[in-house]
Amino acid sequence: MPDPENESLFEAPPMAEQERMVEAILFATAEPVTLAELGSRMPMGSDPAEALALLRKRYAGRGVNVVKVGEAWAVRTAPDLGFLMRHEVVETRKLSRAAIETLAIVAYHQPVTRAEIEEIRGVSVSRGTIDLLIEMDWIRLGRRKMTPGRPVTFVVTQAFLDHFGLESARDLPGLKELRAAGLLDNRPPPGADLPDPDAEDDGDQTDMFEE
């Protein structure tokens, strides 16, 4: 219970308001919060213990609960709903330079054949790179090209557009616009004079003829 003397000195907020405060603090704080911390952050004269007890009761049986972690308190998903959280954490990795360049060429030139990608990149494209992009559902096979050999082409997918927040691949800015926006340095890219960082891809150049 609040100290009656304090109550007269400091007008503590109504208990419903104190409960709101505890709720917001527990939600937003990255670590579980002790009663002492709650008290130090709430207005003078507040009673965090009582507010917390009310909040705890309010969340009983809900989708998230107020739980005790050591000496501190936190909001956690109800244990029976853990199955909903399975997709929560995915480990993300940066795409390799070869992959992002290949992806960019497909996006800008689609439909584009593998030979055309190699022509633009200036090095051969390893099969793993294309496979990875297809597996990620960012590129897919398009129509065969109406040129000799009828090579398959690659186009970007709806998932690609969704991921990059594009309405269509045609909305990508052109080279001129990239330069104007300062995305295109007129400096040589780092390592341009060094051994080609794409050398890893250069090894099995001939493998495409062994299919």
Partner: protein, 266 residues
Amino acid sequence: MTPAEDPFEADPQSVSERLAAEALIVDVGAFEGPLDLLLTLSRTQKVDLRQVSILALAEQYLAFVERAKALRLELAADYLVMAAWLAFLKSRLLLPPDPADEGPSGEELAAHLAFQLERLEAMRAAAARLMARDQKGRDFFARGLGEDVARVRRITFTATLLDLMQAYARVRTRDDFRPFVMDRDAIFTLEEALERMRPLIGFAGDWTDLTSYLPDGWQMDPARRRSATAATFAASLELAKEGRIEIRQADIFAPIELRKRGPRDA
């Protein structure tokens, strides 16, 4: 814009106005271009932007540029372009309209400038209101604590739009930065093979071995020969489809031969 206003009202500048102009000149680097400066000048008229006298504003701006010149201050080119344009606008506003002139009237030009100033002012105010809103991470908060329920780790690869655009820019400009090199000297493309064969088949009256169409210098190295053979073969299939040549092979693994198909054979 009020054309009725006495155009010479602003001419004998008061001391305070001149001081204000001096202050502006000191600050010229702080302005984001002529429009920004004009907006600041228009505030000294202490009226609603919709009532601002564009003529008086032009006078103020021209006085500013003159003073900057007198002080030998380097003004960026766009300030001088604006000065020239305002001088032109001033003459249009002061002189009676020439009926032979088809361009927009001085009033129209002045009205547009007033609109630009009002719009810039409005966007400044909107920007300030936007930034004064409650902001995430400052006034309201997202969940601070990650869930520590059992997780399925799944690796996804990620890239941002910026990565994508920069990658493309890098690829497309790489040639700007390095001497030309043949990256794929061991690959003979179908297109190249076709280009080589089209003029040659005109002379191939009789059955000729396919390998005789391989380009010079591609026979020795195995990788180069393989690539050239594959491309040349694919190209001959294409030419056969077009009805320009015939292909035959006596036996499995026997040499592939081709000859021109005469127009009468078709």
